[in-house]
Amino acid sequence: MIQLKVNGAERSFDGDPEMPVLWYLRDILGLTGTKFGCGLALCGACTVLQNGEAIRSCVVPVRDVAGKEITTIEGLSPNGLHPVQRAWMQQNVPQCGYCQSGQIMQAVALLKSKPKPTDQDIDDAMSGNICRCGTYQRIRAAIKAAAEAKA
């Protein structure tokens, strides 16, 4: 039995411990905000926070997050919108939106470690997250706007 915390709630899982966190969240818990894009940590659509750090949930087995705290897009700001989400909306970032949960979680992790990121910081942190619609310019603007708003 694996014990962990998801969005603040205690959870236990007695299924296949090799199951990636992604499928545990989606199929077992029904938290479908976190997306499947590649299964190989190549696209970032599945990004969630593990104790505040961004991880690719499609390649991390549930056994590896025992005792840890996972935050998904659903738990980012249970009461209203997180400043990063507000910035995303102000900049009209999403097109299809499928990758944006992962983008937002990655941006939240970036701003936690670098509250005033440079363009290079943003490139370094965000280039693992693919957006096939091509919203990168607005993602960059939203990260900068969120950094401003927090300052």
Partner: protein
């Protein structure tokens, strides 16, 4: 677990609660009025034959507008309902948008070809104006005054003289008893009164898209459902010889395996066949599938090898082909030109391209009591009805297709083979089945954008201008998925930047050669325009440099004076748009070219070493686009794109900010095509599998800044989803030439050496 939100089972307007509600449907319009002046077989004509939208007003003033087109990132779920709201004079804050199921009564629902606004702009305006007309009539009756003394004023009707006012909700019940007006009775708002069109609105779904609440096909869930992962035949047309599923069945969570029949050629939208592993979660289905031991009969497409095939295409491109447009006498001019002018020839090549939408193919379908209900991220729910009814031998009416959000589409999700798979499996398994494709499935079993070889030849006169121009393209046609014998391009795809080359050249011949398909060919964002514009716009740039001329000035000379292109002697479908309303107008192409040059500071910007600007202009989906790209190429041959400028004339634009976003995205999409877009096959098996070997542009590879300029226009609306891609591809390659002196004639860039 509950049924997914956002879709209703068969109800068109589930939110309409009260019995006194006013429900209006475009279906009430006499079709003969709507069809007037429209040529047969246009998208708009289809729309009017089977009217397309329903408007409902509840007694509490809530306005319901049905979106019948699919939302894959263009915000069409916002922009078309916004047009209805405009003519209704409805308060957008009180509008609820509901997604239509697939149903022919909406008219065309294939959200493809960048024509949703073009085909439905007037339809939506009239639907909104009809509602407004009836509400005004109802108020006038209540006040016992002539309707001419009344007007709408944002969700209310007011009486001018007395200032009396009644809200739309208060009028809904009375208005519902009135006759629906004829089209001639309607008064559309003048442009000057528009409050939404041309100003736009943020996506109706913005909050859901930023909070993980939007329900995509990947997120559909119903009670009792199982998950399926399918091992497809690795070669198109292959069959299972034998399958050993013992190890697969031992995987925890795996319930059973189910064979799927191979398709009967041509493939169209049929399932590919193979073996499905059914499990109680996605991961178990994936794991079980890896343990399958299948021996395949690969069939004749095993002979397909991309390297050999490329040579065949290029050889065909050097042979005389089928003439699709001919002006003057190219051969005579070449013969003459050979004595004084300069002859230039070039070959261009673009490989197969995969869509790689972020959401792989996925769908949930349930077969029950002889009927199928599907929750599908599809661009074409009526095609879902078609193929599912054919596969299961049931009527189309017994296939209900709910349309979820699409995690990208780009043309792939117009082809519902994956939906048919789930329906077939659900019937066999007796439970709702969710089919989940892996990224590897998505890359290996796509309907690829065609591989294409283009041969170009021109003779330059003493002024450096071409007096004759020959262009010949060879590509396996999309029609091959419907007709096994199809080898030539059809008029629609030859009309994508080839037949309609807008140049002012006295001797011009456009040809197409034959090519047989060995994989499924399909539509991808801007389709044949990608390779045609790449060849035409690259060759133009080559000729400019050969002639020692500035590429911008040279391009403007090629386009020539403002005029309407006469294509009467060709078969030119013009994207389904009537030619009189949407002609090829070289004046508009010139204008965006001049505009982008000015905005980009063409000829004025100081650029560093290794930097260059490239330009390209192209009309597609009846929209005119010109693009200037700035690149920096370092001494390792790495390309950076600091800036892109794009000028767009798409006629009347409903939602400018989100239109700009489409062109920003197209610049990134075009960047992916140029940098790394390449699908190849060895012995009929696709070589690529995931983002490591089919890379798409990431943030650090995408243009840093894309500036989009929209031409102010009162022309009828045109496409915005696709037209940004073709000029981006060519302008980027032209910029690389300006920066390095290396001409990119073969895509992708990874096949080219930019240094040394």
């Amino acid at each position: 677990m509950s049924i997914i939100a956002n879709v209703s089972r068969r109800g068109f307007l589930k939110g309409l609660a009260s019995s006194g509600a006013l429900v209006l449907g475009a279906r009430f319009y006499p079709k003969v009025l709507w069809a007037e002046g429209l040529p047969a077989d246009t998208h708009a004509d289809h729309a009017t034959l089977h009217p397309s939208v329903f408007v409902g007003i509840d007694t509490d003033g809530t306005v319901y507008i049905v979106a019948h087109r699919s939302e894959m990132g263009t915000a069409i779920r916002t922009s078309l309902p916004l047009v209805v709201a405009e003519e209704m004079d409805a308060d957008w804050k009180r509008v609820k948008v509901e997604q239509a199921i697939g149903d022919p009564r909406y008219g065309d629902q294939n959200t493809d070809g960048s024509h949703s606004i073009r085909s439905f702009f007037e339809v939506m305006r009239q639907a909104g104006a009809t509602a407004r007309f009836m509400l005004i009539q109802a108020a006038a009756q209540q006040w016992n005054v002539p309707p001419s003394q009344c007007r709408s004023d944002l969700h209310a009707v007011v009486h001018g003289q007395t200032g009396r006012r009644l809200g739309y909700g208060d009028l809904a019940a009375a208005a519902s008893k009135l006759p629906v007006p004829k089209k001639e009775e309607l008064q559309l708002k003048p442009r000057s009164a528009w409050r939404y069109i041309g100003k736009g609105m943020a996506s109706y779904d913005l909050t859901e898209l930023c909070t993980g609440k939007a329900i995509y096909g990947m997120d559909a869930r119903v009670d009792g459902m199982v998950y399926a992962s399918i091992e497809h035949p690795p070669v198109l047309g292959g069959k299972v010889k034998s399958c050993d599923d013992k190890e697969a069945l031992k995987v925890a969570g795996v319930l059973q395996t189910v064979p799927i029949d191979p398709f009967k050629p041509p493939p169209a939208f049929q399932p590919l066949g193979g073996v499905a592993v059914i499990a109680d979660n996605t991961w178990a289905a994936f794991q079980g599938r890896q343990k399958l031991n299948i021996v395949w009969d690969n069939g004749p497409n095993e002979s397909y090898d991309s390297g050999e095939y490329k040579k065949e295409l290029q050889a065909t491109a050097h042979q005389p082909g089928k003439v699709v447009r001919n002006e003057g006498d190219v051969d005579a001019a070449f013969a003459q030109g050979g004595q004084g002018g300069k002859i230039v020839e070039a070959d261009y090549y673009v490989p197969l391209l995969a869509h790689a939408s972020m959401e792989p193919m996925v769908v949930l379908a349930e077969f029950k009591d002889g009927k199928v209900t599907a929750w599908a991220p599809t661009q074409n729910p009526q095609a879902v009805q078609d193929i599912v009814s054919k596969e299961l031998g049931i009527s189309k009416e017994d296939v209900v297709c709910h349309v979820t959000f699409l995690g990208g589409g780009f043309g792939r999700k117009s082809k519902p083979d994956y939906v048919a798979e789930a329906a077939v499996l659900s019937k066999k398994v007796g439970r709702p089945v969710k089919v989940v494709w892996t990224r590897e499935d998505d890359i290996k079993f796509d309907y690829y954008n065609a591989v294409a070889a283009m041969y170009m030849k021109a003779v330059l006169d003493t002024n450096g201008k071409p007096s004759a121009w020959l262009q010949r393209s060879v590509f396996p046609p999309i029609t091959s998925i419907f007709d096994v014998n199809a080898v030539y391009g059809d008029p629609g795809h030859l009309g994508q930047g080839w037949t309609d080359i807008p140049y002012d050249i006295p001797n011009l011949r456009v040809e197409n050669g034959p090519a047989k398909a060995h994989v499924r060919i399909g539509w991808l964002r801007s389709v044949a325009n990608i390779y045609h514009a790449f060849a035409v716009q690259s060759f133009s740039d080559e000729l400019a440099h050969t002639a020692g001329r500035d590429p911008l000035q040279y391009l403007l000379e090629l386009i020539g004076p403002p005029r309407v292109l006469n294509l009467k002697n060709t078969n030119y479908p013009n994207y389904g748009a009537p030619y009189d309303a949407y002609p090829v107008d070289t004046g508009r192409l010139r204008r965006v070219t001049e505009m982008v040059a000015e905005k980009a500071g063409w000829g004025k910007r100081k650029l560093g070493k290794g930097s260059g600007l490239g330009i390209a202009a192209h009309r597609s989906f009846v929209t005119y686009v010109a693009t200037v790209v700035e690149v920096e190429v370092n001494d390792r041959g790495e390309v950076r794109i600091p800036r892109v400028d794009t000028a767009v004339d798409a006629g009347t634009v409903v939602n400018p900010e989100l239109t700009r976003a489409q062109f920003e995205g197209a610049a990134v999409f075009g960047t992916s095509v140029v940098r790394s877009g390449e699908i190849t096959a060895t012995r009929g098996v696709i070589d690529q599998s995931n983002f490591q070997d089919y890379p798409v542009a990431r943030m650090n590879e995408a243009p840093y800044q894309t500036n989009v300029y929209l031409v102010e226009s009162t022309a009828p609306p045109a496409g915005v989803g696709e037209p940004g891609v073709p000029p981006m591809v060519a302008a980027l390659c032209n910029a690389i030439y300006a920066a390095t002196g290396k001409r990119v004639r073969e895509l992708p860039l990874s096949r080219n050496k930019l240094v040394g």
